[in-house]
């Protein structure tokens, strides 16, 4: 779960990371009222999850209440422009009104999870305020990383070491270890997978302040933080994620690709393997669908309807290799789905093996269906059926 800037900064505040003075506003009127009461030079920033707010004209300045109302209206009038990963853009429901900083320098720092060392990794470069991947291409030598021993945890020497190694300006040094301490605290306390400050500003009057906040919370840790429930609801799911949720799947278990061969498998690995098999057989994939471990009949039925009603599938390739998932349950679900569904019907290709496969095959046989033997065979048959348009 990605947090918006204002949410990330709220967590920064709770963990003692300095942030600019700000007010989160849901309407242009609120913006105007706030600036009215708090004269000064303010920046109004769209609160969205997509990047590229600056380029999209979604960050503007205001010094008067009227100006604040006007720029907020402009910002919120249109959604963020679409990009490849967010084809429908992102609507803007609120803005953050924030003090403008007299910036002397901008650095970059983040904590994330490193798979290789199995440790939290703290990353620093003195080049902040830019796209960090671009900086990494241009100045790879400017980065330093510290992998934290979790048995020790964060200790101030880590911040010092990183500051000296990356040649951070001396103005940062005194405050930097405490800021990283706050980030590490946030990382564990709230189950974050990423805590990123870009830029970490050194102001002309010597303060070090997190001018932006990017925080990603581990979805698996959300059960520990019921307080995020409210925040979760304001985050827009894309269409595929919404459909997945409605079908009772995890938000990442369903994804559409526009082809004609619908797929469903148990387990992400096999689901990806099934797509690979369809591709290898010359077909175009309609979707990725991982029905999950231990799927029951009801879940199978809802997945059938999801693929049939919401993708361009002309055939539905069901590929189950049972471990924790039981073949009889899946077979029951398929039979029931076909019996009860009011959706259009498309040809089914079923591959069913592993746990309780005999019973599953018997249930399918009783309903007049004959499963294929292997994944490749099933993929081939599905691609043929999609091409021919024949009904099963």
């Amino acid at each position: 779960m990605n947090l918006m800037e204002y949410q990330g900064k709220e967590l920064f505040r709770r963990c003692g990371i300095p942030v600019p003075r700000s007010q989160h506003c849901k309407t242009p009127d609120e913006v105007a009222a706030f600036i009215e009461k708090n004269p000064g030079k303010w920046v109004v920033k769209a609160q969205v999850l997509m990047g590229g707010r600056g380029k999209a004209g979604k960050i503007k300045f205001a010094t008067t209440a009227e100006e604040g109302r006007k720029v907020a209206q402009e910002i919120m009038a249109t959604p963020m422009p679409p990009n490849r990963q967010n084809p429908s853009g992102e609507p803007i429901h609120s803005v953050l009104v924030e003090e403008t900083l007299e910036v002397a320098l901008e650095a970059y720092t983040a904590i994330s999870v490193d798979r290789t060392t199995k440790k939290p990794a703290i990353i620093v470069t003195k080049f902040g305020g830019m796209d960090v991947e671009e900086v990494h291409e241009k100045h790879p030598e400017s980065f330093a990383t510290f992998f934290v021993d979790t048995a020790i945890g964060y200790s101030p020497f880590i911040g010092r070491e990183l500051a000296f190694k990356t040649d951070l300006d001396a103005g940062y040094r005194k405050q930097f270890p405490a800021i990283v301490a706050g980030m590490y605290d946030l990382f564990f306390k709230y189950g974050a997978k990423l805590v990123e400050i870009n830029p970490l500003v050194l102001t002309k009057d010597g303060r070090v302040i997190a001018a932006d906040a990017k925080v990603e919370i581990d979805d698996d840790a959300l059960f520990r933080h019921p307080e995020f429930k409210d925040w979760q609801q304001v985050l827009p799911l894309d269409e595929d994620e919404t459909l997945a949720t409605q079908a009772g799947l995890g938000i990442r278990n369903f994804r559409r690709f526009g082809g004609t061969v619908g797929t469903m498998a148990n387990g992400a690995g096999l689901a990806m393997g099934t797509m690979d098999a369809v591709k290898n057989a010359g077909g175009e994939i309609a979707n990725f669908l991982d029905v999950g471990g231990g799927a029951n009949a009801e879940r199978v039925r809802s997945c059938y309807e999801l693929v049939v009603n919401h993708t361009g599938a002309k055939v539905f390739f069901v590929n189950i290799f049972g471990g924790i998932t039981r073949g009889d349950e899946v077979a029951k679900g398929i039979v029931e789905a076909l019996k009860t569904t009011k959706s259009r019907k498309i040809p089914l290709v079923i591959r069913l093996t592993g746990t309780n496969e005999e019973e599953g095959r018997r249930i399918l046989a009783d309903a007049g269906m004959t499963p294929v033997e292997t994944m490749d065979e099933g993929a081939k048959r599905a691609v043929e059926l999609a091409a021919s348009g024949v009904s099963s």
Binding site: R115, K118, T150, F223, L270, M272, N280, F321, G323, D376
Partner: protein, 292 residues
């Protein structure tokens, strides 16, 4: 031989009275696994439906049964606690089947349990065919033999093994290491064991997009196992970049983690990469014929 697990390994099941725990305990027993008991707090002193003793704590279980191998079927919130409990009770081998364990719990576990071998979490377990199985793998697909297998995926593993078995290539030990960002045992950890296992004559590595475990494995093979017949496979090659498909670990990030990066690494180590699971047995048989 085999790695990590054999006929004599004494296994206990954490969460043995839960629905999943109880069901798979029955299946493991049926496969021949030497399960000596289980743990469910508050049910100590009872017997399971299989007639196994239940204990309140791991310590009691270990003291009473001499169990050495833990199999975890508890909800995500309790997985780290179960691992710590086993560690403090002297257990040094654990398999965590649980899916959805918070990544920070695993960071803490891995950092504070030196000397403990943890398989998973979010994994199907491991099996030494003909000897013993810990986890949820469907035993009838496997066949005893001399191919070691390591995989990040669960169900894809069965697919690959099914092909091996049909081709007459039995397995020494198959380890499903799990697809989460932080796992207890990596490809390299398993390769190190296979290297020293007399039963294992060849290895199949089933990787996935995302992370750098495959690249690390390729580097290890290049340096330490150049003579061993090894075949690799990379799942998710048709997943679009930037989209996270199911496994939290399978997110393509940076240059590492792409299918191209992994294939290149394996090729540099002299390891052929199968285009589809069904090609694996043929490629492996070729390599084994050459090496003999």
């Amino acid at each position: 031989m085999s790695i990590f697990l054999d006929k004599n390994s004494k296994v206990f099941v954490q969460g043995i009275t839960g629905a999943e725990g109880s069901y798979h305990t029955g299946r493991m027993l049926a496969y021949g696994t030497n399960i000596v008991g289980g743990v469910t707090p508050g049910k100590g002193g009872q017997k399971t439906e299989h007639g196994l003793p239940v204990f309140n704590t791991v310590k009691e279980c270990v003291e009473a049964t001499g169990a050495t191998h833990q199999c975890i079927f508890v909800p995500p919130a309790g997985a780290a606690d179960a691992l710590f409990e086993a560690y403090e009770a002297g257990v040094r081998f654990a398999v965590c089947i649980t899916e959805g364990v918070p990544v920070h719990d695993m960071l803490r576990v891995v950092g504070a349990t030196p000397g403990m071998r943890i398989i998973g979490p979010n994994c199907p377990g491991l099996i030494s065919p003909g000897k013993s199985s810990i986890g949820i793998m469907p035993g009838h697909v496997f066949k005893e033999g001399n191919v070691g297998l390591i995989s990040r995926s669960g169900t894809l593993t069965y697919e690959v093994v099914d092909g091996l078995t049909r081709a007459g290539l039995g397995q020494s030990t198959c380890v499903g290491i799990g697809g989460d960002p932080i796992i207890g045992t990596t490809f390299v950890d398993c390769l190190r064991e296979f290297k020293n296992d007399p039963q294992t004559q060849a290895v199949v590595i089933c990787g996935e997009i995302g992370g750098s475990d495959e690249e690390d494995a390729a580097a290890f093979v290049k340096e330490h196992m150049a003579g061993t017949p090894i075949v690799a496979f990379i799942g998710g090659r048709n997943a679009p970049p930037g989209k996270s498909l199911g496994h939290a670990g399978a997110i393509i990030s940076g240059g590492f983690g792409t299918p191209e990066s992994k294939i290149k690494a394996f090729q540099a180590a002299g390891v052929p990469v199968a285009d589809r699971p069904s090609e694996i047995p043929g490629l492996l048989a070729q390599r084994m014929a050459v090496s003999v």
